[in-house]
């Protein structure tokens, strides 16, 4: 253990009210802590900011997945394992299920949460591109009340979010808006498993009679935040699916993403691979993600 523990505090309230009161405290400085799959790594490496943390782990109000006519509402503390086990998510939101399956191993999937994956605000996070494709909305809560915001636009810059210090994500809402759309999720890392993404891709397209009527395209690891590619979506809307669409897609994509050289990859590689993933998705229906069959595991 490299961290100097006395520089930290971790309280674990059991109710949402108690947690929100701590976060709203006049003396400030309390920060949320969920499954610990990132913050405990930072702690051990001596990089976690000293201070006071509020564990959200014991708060039942932040758990659970509810299904309504319009969509699902996923508690922010829902783990990747919870996602993998849920029949409605498996049937209607296969990209979120795929992202959960590709995040770490079982032990990480048992502790990592969707809310944490969002609020940790890593541009390389694996579930956010899938959430963007499904037009996710976030319920954000504080002692001041609850507000609902589109997830698209929630990340304002590198680790900058539309989230005040006293607010936490309460739930993630996904409407049933992609039924019948072609969908794909691809994560490109150093290895096929257990790797942080060099490029992460999620997309859905409403393709009928050879024409792309609408699309949602999102990437991770190619910009300061996960990004939804509005320029590319606009450029593709109404186009025939034929080989000519590839150049249009690649060109438009340069306006949406801004990859950099870093420890995991290079800007050039990421731009090329991002274009390849998109073109492959548009031209090869075989790569699409089907609803995930339910299993007992």
């Amino acid at each position: 253990m490299r961290a100097f523990l006395p520089a930290y505090d971790l309280e674990a309230p059991e109710t949402l009210d108690a947690a929100l009161r701590l976060l709203s405290g006049g003396d400030g400085g309390w920060k949320p802590f969920a499954g610990g799959t990132d913050l405990m790594v930072l702690l051990e490496s001596g990089k976690l900011a000293p201070g006071r943390y509020v564990s959200l782990w014991d708060i039942e109000e932040l758990r659970g997945i509810t299904v309504s006519e319009d969509g699902v509402a996923i508690g922010a503390l829902t783990t990747y394992s919870d996602v993998l086990a849920h029949p409605v998510l498996r049937a209607d939101f296969p990209l979120v299920v795929r992202a959960a399956a590709e995040t770490g191993g079982v032990a990480t999937q048992n502790r990592g949460t969707l809310g944490g994956n969002i609020a940790n605000a890593s541009p390389a996070a694996d579930t956010p591109p899938a959430l963007l494709v499904y037009d996710a909305e976030l319920d954000i809560v504080s002692v001041r009340g609850t507000r609902r915001v589109p997830y698209d636009g929630f990340h304002k810059g590198y680790k900058v979010m539309d989230l005040a210090p006293d607010e936490i994500i309460r739930r993630i809402r996904l409407p049933f808006a992609r039924r019948g759309w072609r969908q794909a999720y691809r994560k490109v890392g150093t290895r096929r498993a257990q790797a942080i993404s060099k490029v992460c891709f999620a997309a859905a397209a409403d393709v009928r009679d050879g024409t792309l009527h609408d699309a949602r395209i999102a990437f991770g690891s190619v910009a300061p935040t996960v990004v939804r590619c509005h320029v590319t979506e606009h450029a593709l809307r109404g186009r025939r699916i034929d080989p000519g669409i590839a150049a249009v897609a690649r060109q438009a994509l340069t306006a949406d993403i801004a990859p950099i050289d870093d420890v995991r990859s290079t800007a050039r590689y990421r731009m090329r691979v991002a274009g390849n993933l998109l073109v492959d998705f548009l031209l090869n229906d075989d790569n699409s993600q089907r609803p995930t069959p339910n299993s007992q595991s």
Binding site: M1, D9, E11, G36, M40, E44, G105, R111, Q296, S297
Partner: protein, 159 residues
């Protein structure tokens, strides 16, 4: 209140753990509960050497703060065998030679125990996914994989 006392059950016995609320469960188990079968590998949730079961679920104990153990049921490698005989997974690891230096073995066994508790007849893909978070630098995995297949009473399918 950074220091706290946690009551939990470890390997079926009531236990009291004391320490900083953010202390790693791994350290508390090894130093204070003297359960040194749980190993530290990477200390960053990548290798699975510190795997334990927390309320029946596989976790990396290096990433669990002590406060999250409050009221929990914890199983470490010391609690897998019963008094007079090894668990079927442990017997299979012995029979198949599924261990070499031994550092990954407690975590591997717990990952396999966790898999078989939920999925008694896993597919090959399910077995691979269940062990994916546990790294071994000696065996090349084949004997470990064979041990898990053996443990669920199946013969290895050609891959």
């Amino acid at each position: 209140m950074a220091d706290l006392t946690v009551t939990c059950r470890i390997n079926g016995q009531a236990a009291t753990l004391r320490g900083h609320s953010m202390a790693r469960l791994l350290d508390v188990l090894r130093r204070d509960a003297h359960l040194t079968g749980t190993k530290e590998g990477c200390g960053e949730g990548e290798c699975g050497a510190c795997s334990v079961l927390l309320d029946g679920r596989l976790v990396n104990s290096c990433l669990v703060p002590l406060v999250h153990a409050n009221g929990a049921e914890i199983v470490t490698i010391e609690g897998v065998a019963s008094a007079d005989r090894l668990h079927a997974v442990q017997e299979a690891f012995v029979a198949c030679g599924g261990a070499q230096c031994g550092i990954c073995t407690p975590g591997m066994v717990l990952a396999a125990v966790s898999l078989l508790a939920r999925t008694p007849r896993p597919t090959e893909d399910e077995t691979r996914a269940a062990l994916a978070g546990n790294l071994c630098r000696c065996t090349g995995y084949m004997r470990i994989f064979a041990a898990v297949v053996e443990a669920c009473g199946r013969t290895a399918e050609p891959s």
